[in-house]
């Protein structure tokens, strides 16, 4: 079983104490490249515990500065919080999916996916996306069979109903935020579901946007054991998805590649959490961005070829 190796200088990003809007946590990050600079997008939790999506920039992918709020809760569909961004660049635009909270007190129907589209990380075009309880969506970085493809998590907050990870294909960009599209997709969700749960007491959630390799899409996700108890064990797992029809699983992890063990994963705002939220391929190395203890952003890595080999060993 392949394990991820922690970056020795973890955490790579912690809250800046002087910013009230991120004083309770800066976590669940992902990166995109614009020109020569890397943009780190992350969830920032304020002193009053409202989440916004913030960004910082860097010349490399592990050292970031110049923090600012990017996506504010200023629309009907995200007015109580903007959480956990996942960014993908496709055809010159960046699509930042995030979880929007739209009611208070919060109910599952108030937890849905939203998107902010940008070309420059300054001006945004915001839309509500799904019409049902769902979270954690990421676009594939290329069209598949001429269509946009995305991976998302639905029924994330309706225990004992287990969450599901599924794929959606869109003919046109507008479909991504079309109510009609999603209502019809919801009725056919079973055709697009990835069967990743090993046990109904576990929970899954999309981690990072998939990474293309010649053997298939590498997809990292959050896998939590004993989710409905107080004995939760958070873990990071991976699957290899078919290049042309990514709802087909070619191989997958048999167990966690990383669980909370380091001090920065054990101590913080929510102790004992590791949560994958971004990934990139650098040479032959896969770098995984993950939130640690809902407090900071960390990196862990593995070799791409070894990972693929490992995933193919355990057939779905």
């Amino acid at each position: 079983m392949l394990k991820l190796t922690r970056y020795p200088h973890n955490p790579i990003f912690i809250p800046e104490e002087k910013n009230e809007w991120e004083k309770s946590g800066a976590y669940n990050g992902c990166v995109a490249k614009l020109g020569d600079s890397y943009h780190l997008l992350y969830r920032a939790l304020s002193s009053s515990r409202t989440s916004v999506v913030a960004q910082a920039t860097g010349e490399d992918f592990f050292d970031f500065s110049s923090r600012e709020i990017l996506i504010k809760p200023d629309s009907d569909w995200d007015r109580y919080g903007c959480e956990d961004p996942r960014v993908t660049q496709i055809e010159g635009s960046y699509y930042i999916f995030y979880t929007g909270l739209s009611n208070q007190p919060l109910t599952p129907d108030g937890i849905k996916i939203c998107v902010a589209k940008t070309t420059d990380f300054k001006t945004l075009e915001k839309h509500p996306v799904t019409t049902f309880n769902s979270k954690a969506m990421a676009l594939f970085p290329e069209k598949i069979g001429g269509k946009y493809a995305a991976i998302l998590t639905l029924s994330t907050d309706r225990p004992p109903l287990p969450a599901k990870i599924a794929i959606a294909y869109f003919e046109r960009e507008e479909d991504i935020w079309s109510k009609d599209f999603w209502n019809s997709w919801f009725d056919h969700q079973d055709e697009f579901t990835l069967h990743l749960l090993r046990d109904p007491s576990h929970q899954i959630e999309v981690g990072a946007a998939p990474i293309k390799t010649e053997n298939g899409w590498i997809f990292l996700y959050s896998y939590t054991k004993n989710y409905y108890t107080d004995h939760k064990i958070f873990g990071i797992e991976a699957a290899l998805l078919d290049l042309n029809s990514p709802h087909n699983i070619l191989g997958r992890s048999g167990d966690a590649m990383l669980i909370p063990e380091a001090d920065y994963e054990l101590y913080g705002e929510v102790p004992k959490v590791v949560f994958p939220s971004g990934a990139l391929l650098d040479g032959n190395t896969i770098w995984v961005y993950y939130g640690a203890a809902d407090s900071s952003i960390c990196l862990a890595s593995c070799e791409k070829d070894l990972l693929i080999k490992d995933l193919l060993l355990s057939k779905p």
Partner: protein, 320 residues
């Protein structure tokens, strides 16, 4: 044997590394139930080893629903300001009790050089629950040049007197005073409630955990004891007479919690469970404790179960 049941989601509070004032530890919490929630006032250790107090609250006793990003109580008097740079100092191990419309807080004040002393402050309940932290100027209440710690005020007056527990040398003491106006003239002393018990788990040193909780059968007082020579901090329980709390009705033979989990064994100080707060919710007592001087856990026990065990013990053989 009755044991506290740990919440499986422990630790519930752990240090946030980027906040300098709590980066080295969050532990030894006081707890009070008020206005529909448990308020937790915990000791935090800063990057320069200064203790101050942080705040969190929980609606169900387990899940932290709110946690402030600034300390709610910082060293303010000469007797708790650091005289020894880099060493420990500050305001340690709070215990909070409500009497009338005020919360009284006893804590250990330490300047890093002189023996630790007990300080007393208070705040109106209304201010506290609305997070207006207008603490009254603290006063030292234990004698000068004498190490004293682990103090807590009895949550009711007994025969018109205020009752204060504290730890002198290795024992739990309790004093009965007419008023709380310690103006540098009178100091705590009183009588011994419990000495360390030779040959038992609490042979090393004993001090109260939280102020006692009231039941029909008597006051349940939890206390910490150190097992020597292993030097492990554990906690036990005793039952005090309702009208005359100097009288121990019974005392459990065994600890109700001892270091077992990793977060209790490994931290800033190994093998420590150290409760400073207990509240009643429903039929249970929720106990808040420090683990290894690093994190905070919660553990519960059914009141009836604890009482049954206490009442089945042989009568305690020390009576005053």
């Amino acid at each position: 044997m009755v044991k506290l049941k740990r919440y499986a989601g422990n630790p519930v509070i752990s240090p946030r590394s980027w906040l300098k004032w709590e980066t080295n530890g969050t532990f030894n919490p006081a707890a009070v139930y008020e206005a529909g929630k448990v308020h937790i006032v915990y000791r935090c250790m800063s990057d320069d080893n200064t203790s101050q107090l942080g705040y969190a609250s929980t609606l169900d006793g387990f899940n932290i629903t709110e946690r402030l990003n600034e300390p709610i109580y910082t060293p303010r008097e000469d007797f708790e300001k650091k005289l020894n740079p880099g060493g420990n100092s500050g305001c340690e191990d709070p215990r909070i009790s409500r009497i009338g419309d005020r919360f009284y807080m006893c804590y250990t004040a330490y300047d890093g050089i002189n023996p630790t002393r007990v300080a007393l402050s208070s705040i109106s309940v209304d201010d506290f629950v609305n997070k207006r932290f207008n603490w009254e100027k603290p006063k030292l209440i234990s004698p000068p040049d004498t190490q004293d710690k682990d103090a807590g005020l009895f949550p009711e007056q007994i025969n018109g007197k205020f009752v204060i527990f504290h730890r002198l040398e290795n024992s739990i003491w309790m004093d009965f005073v007419d008023d709380l106006n310690f103006e540098g003239v009178k100091w705590l002393k009183g009588v011994v409630l419990l000495h360390p018990r030779e040959g038992k788990w609490d042979n090393g040193r004993v001090g109260i955990s939280s102020p006692p909780v009231k039941t029909e059968a008597g006051w349940i007082l939890m206390y910490h004891g150190i097992t020597e020579p292993e030097h492990r901090y554990k906690a036990g329980a005793m039952l005090l007479d309702l009208e005359n709390p100097r009288k121990i009705i019974s005392l459990l033979d065994n600890p109700i919690i001892e270091p077992e989990e990793e977060y209790e064994k490994i931290g800033s100080v190994p093998s420590v469970v150290f409760p400073c707060g207990a509240v009643i919710m429903g039929e249970q007592i929720f106990v808040y404790y420090g683990g290894a001087d690093k994190v905070i856990g919660v553990a519960t026990v059914k009141i009836q179960e604890l009482l049954d065990e206490l009442l089945s013990e042989k009568p305690h053989n020390v009576n005053y």
